[in-house]
């Protein structure tokens, strides 16, 4: 049994945890819930030695833990799947999985690659990754990296396993496999702590739920005694109104973006589609199905080998993101906030301001007008409910979900005509997700902007998109037109989508 007594943790300007007491039983999956910035990751990082300085006591099996590092935690029997993806790009899948135990595969000072790869393969299979142990991790997708991290934690075979939003980048299918695995571990008597913003997952998987808000413990209860509304209310102190957004009336005669027979080897396979003005077009599919790859070609990050692209009816060749933005008003919210979305050492304000500097600088002085920057940035911080001590706070010190909000905020500030949003709500809490959905909807419905929504989150897709293209293995398997978005049709549409994916 793992017991936390009176845990308090203070960062400069924030009390991340305030006198939290909790206990976690063996043979249980215990959900830790709370808004973005509530203190979940902080708590988990304390348990596994990543934050060695805190007030209070952590007790594991009647022993007080004084961990100085994660290495200590591993030796004590605690491992973590970190919220942020931390794979080493130039190492192989096997190395990444076995990183903290490489010395086991060493003989006479030499790494036994065969043994290493064989052992890693067990865990690769366990998480249903379809990869060779010897391939490099760098070019893999976010989801694949996420699964590698999970495999890495599993390979430590510790009695306590902490999972900080392990499913944020996974699709339903991958999540289901993971859950089967976690249930097996529960049967074996392991102590599992699970963090997620997806309530369906909590109900499907967990035995117990604890909620923290603003660093304080709010309550703990068995899952049987709880319902959705109750949990949400505990988390955010109000009810959400996950209501039906209504109909979208795109300008069907105005095609803002058209793609004809686009091809890039191994990435985009002879794809064609049209995006209308004021439309939210969904790209749905499993991880690695070619949606992000297509987006990257559209914004000029990758060059296509053949095919044609038209913006507002005019044939164009887009060579870079900067051209996409400046010439054609195309924006792209990356799915990978850490590597591609944010400048972590810079302030929240600077990160959001990145795309708008051109518009707010003096003609002669070339000086950026701080007041104008504030006028655009501060209301966005407010609308997205980004939890920060000040707009000058470094992004690296924000909680994961709040970092994601900054990454989206930057592109909402940019005022693009065509916005490609790639997994916009990864790691965002239920309340904030609703705000982001409202903002995206508002762009299309009231401002006449056109949106391509890439998401593996089916409910999100059904809520926002009125036309969904289904991707599989770089191919478009089919398109569902004229969706109404009414929740009563959701099951039917899901079935149709499932039918398109063989």
């Amino acid at each position: 049994m793992l017991i936390l007594k009176n845990i308090t943790k203070t960062f400069p300007g924030t009390k991340a945890l305030d006198d939290v007491c909790l206990s976690f039983q063996n043979g249980e999956i215990h959900a830790l819930l709370g808004e973005n910035g509530a203190g979940k990751s902080t708590l988990i990082n304390i348990i596994c030695g990543i934050y060695p300085n805190y007030e209070g006591t952590v007790i594991l099996d009647d022993k007080v833990l004084k961990l100085r590092s994660y290495q200590d935690a591993l030796e004590t029997g605690i491992s973590i799947v970190n919220q942020e993806i931390q794979t080493i790009p130039d190492s192989t899948v096997a190395e990444n999985i076995m990183l903290d135990k490489l010395e086991r595969f060493q003989k006479w000072g030499r790494l036994n690659w065969k043994e290493l790869n064989n052992k890693a393969l067990e865990y690769i299979k366990m998480v249903h990754l379809d990869l060779e142990p010897g391939v490099k991790v760098g070019p893999l997708s976010t989801a694949q990296k996420q699964l590698i991290q999970i495999a890495k934690a599993l390979a430590s075979e510790t009695p306590v396993l902490l999972l900080d939003e392990p499913t944020s980048a996974l699709t339903e299918h991958e999540t289901a496999t993971l859950f089967t695995l976690l249930r097996e571990l529960r049967e074996k008597g392991k102590n599992l702590i699970f963090v997620s913003h997806k309530l369906d997952e909590i109900f499907a998987l967990c035995d117990k739920v604890s909620v923290i808000r603003d660093g304080r413990w709010i309550g703990t209860d068995k899952i049987q005694n709880l319902d959705r509304e109750g949990i949400i209310k505990m988390m955010i102190g109000r009810e959400t109104s996950d209501e039906y957004l209504g109909v979208l009336e795109p300008d069907r005669d105005t095609v803002v973006l058209e793609v004809k027979d686009l091809f890039l080897k191994n990435k985009v396979n002879h794809t064609s589609f049209q995006l209308k003005k004021g439309e939210i077009l969904g790209f749905y599919g499993l991880v690695g199905s070619g949606r992000t790859e297509l987006a990257k070609v559209l914004i000029g990050e990758d060059r296509y080998q053949s095919g044609e692209v038209f913006v507002n009816g005019e044939k164009v060749i887009i060579r870079s993101m900067s051209e996409a933005l400046k010439k054609y008003g195309i924006g792209y919210v990356s799915e990978n906030r850490k590597e591609e979305g944010l400048i972590l050492d810079f302030s929240v304000e600077t990160n959001i301001g990145l795309t708008i500097w051109d518009k707010i600088r003096g003609k002669i002085s070339r000086k950026i007008s701080r007041t104008k920057e504030d006028k655009i940035v501060l209301p966005l911080i407010d609308r997205l409910k980004i939890k920060i001590a000040s707009p000058q706070q470094e992004v690296s010190s924000l909680s994961g979900g709040n970092q994601q909000k900054v990454s989206i905020g930057k592109w909402l500030a940019a005022d693009c005509d065509i916005l490609i949003v790639d997994e916009p709500t990864i790691g965002v809490d239920i309340g904030a997700k609703e705000y982001i959905h409202d903002l995206i909807w508002d762009l299309a419905k009231n401002k006449g902007k056109s949106i391509i929504l890439i998401s593996s989150d089916l409910p999100e897709m059904l809520k926002l998109s009125r036309r969904i293209m289904v991707f599989q293995n770089q191919n478009i398997m089919g398109t569902l037109d004229d969706l109404t978005g009414e929740p009563k049709n959701n099951d039917e549409v899901s079935l149709k989508i499932g039918g398109l994916m063989i």
Binding site: P52, N53, M321, T350, L354, S365, R366, D382, S390, E394
Partner: protein, 341 residues
């Protein structure tokens, strides 16, 4: 009721001042370096009679300017996350170009200056183009081009200095204005211009953003290749400017000019708080870094210490400044640990 955004806006306006949006100019790093620079200055004024003499001050401020000019060539590329191992070679090439034009071709100073600066700009442009278009590591690229440029220096000069530099050409490098060397005034103007560039302009902030995270900057619509090329051009410009000024100061164009710049440039830039990870550059820090550099050299001579130890001092100071942050963290951990027990 006010919302958080409005409240924040109000707070900003009320307090009047605000911390820098990019940790650029007056970041925490600088206090760690400005204070030692001041202390060193006070120390030498108290313990050496000849330190505060007009002659010595003139010398110090002129040397200071040259050190910082050399460092600028490095700092502007470090700030975008790169480096330039060929600063010295570019400086040498410009020196030789100036000497060749003035002495061998007998053309006027204005032509020499123009060609000297264009040499540096072209060399920097070459570095930048190779780094971005061939997607090569700046270490490899500038290491190679430093051989290339040094080779040109010796090829053109055959190893001989150009000594018949017209007297008029030495005006800027030797004369003073309002009690300070002209080059010192140039330094002040340049540092102010850089402050303005990095603190207030879109271009400057884009350069820093590129240094902070090149991928994220590019995917935010910043033309990062252009930023990298530009930083390299700036680096080349500063290197060649320093070369030209050396000729003016020495009254001769020496092919050996620039040979020891590489180390100096890194030392002053790093002591001056330029982040090796990119994204941070500071005018005040660079100034303080230059002060420390010059005082170590000058002070050791004045104190009649063994000047051969100079490099050892420098090494220790660099180590000290780069470890300042880590030392602070260590102290914090220790403090927490003590308070727990």
């Amino acid at each position: 009721m006010k919302n958080a955004g409005e409240a924040a806006l109000e707070k900003v306006e009320l307090s009047g001042k605000r911390s820098t949006p990019i940790k650029s100019m007056l970041g925490r790093r600088e206090t760690g370096i400005v204070v030692p620079a001041l202390l060193l200055f006070v120390f030498f004024s108290l313990f050496s009679d000849s330190f505060l003499t007009q002659y010595n001050m003139f010398n110090i401020s002129r040397n200071l300017s040259f050190y910082i000019f050399i460092a600028l060539g490095q700092a502007v590329v470090i700030a975008i996350g790169g480096m330039n191992l060929s600063v010295g070679a570019i400086g040498g090439l410009s020196t030789i170009a100036v000497g060749h034009i003035l002495v061998n071709m007998g053309l006027p100073g204005s032509v020499a200056i123009t060609v000297g600066l264009l040499t540096g700009i072209t060399a920097g442009f070459l570095n930048g183009i190779i780094i971005t278009k061939l997607k090569l590591n700046p270490f490899i690229v500038t290491l190679s081009t430093s051989f290339l440029f040094t080779g040109l220096v010796y090829g053109i000069s055959k190893g001989y200095p150009y000594t018949d530099i017209p007297k008029s050409f030495t005006y800027v490098g030797r004369k003073s204005f309002l009690g300070f060397p002209i080059v010192f005034w140039m330094l002040i103007i340049i540092l102010f211009a850089l402050y303005y560039l990095y603190r207030h302009t879109v271009l400057g902030r884009r350069l820093l953003a590129t240094g902070g995270n090149e991928n994220a900057a590019r995917l935010s619509g910043i033309n990062t290749d252009r930023m990298i090329i530009l930083a390299n051009v700036l680096s080349g410009f500063f290197a060649s400017m320093t070369g030209v000024l050396y000729v003016s100061r020495m009254g001769s164009a020496q092919p050996a000019t620039g040979q020891n710049w590489m180390v100096t440039s890194f030392a002053v830039a790093i002591i001056g708080g330029t982040s090796l990870d990119g994204g941070i550059i500071s005018s005040i820090g660079l100034f303080a870094g230059g002060v420390i550099m010059v005082l170590i050299k000058n002070g050791l001579i004045l104190m009649e210490a063994n000047v051969y130890f100079e490099q050892a001092f420098l090494g220790m100071i660099i180590l000290f400044t780069v470890s300042l942050d880590s030392i602070k963290d260590l102290l914090k951990v220790l403090k927490n640990r003590n308070s727990e027990d």
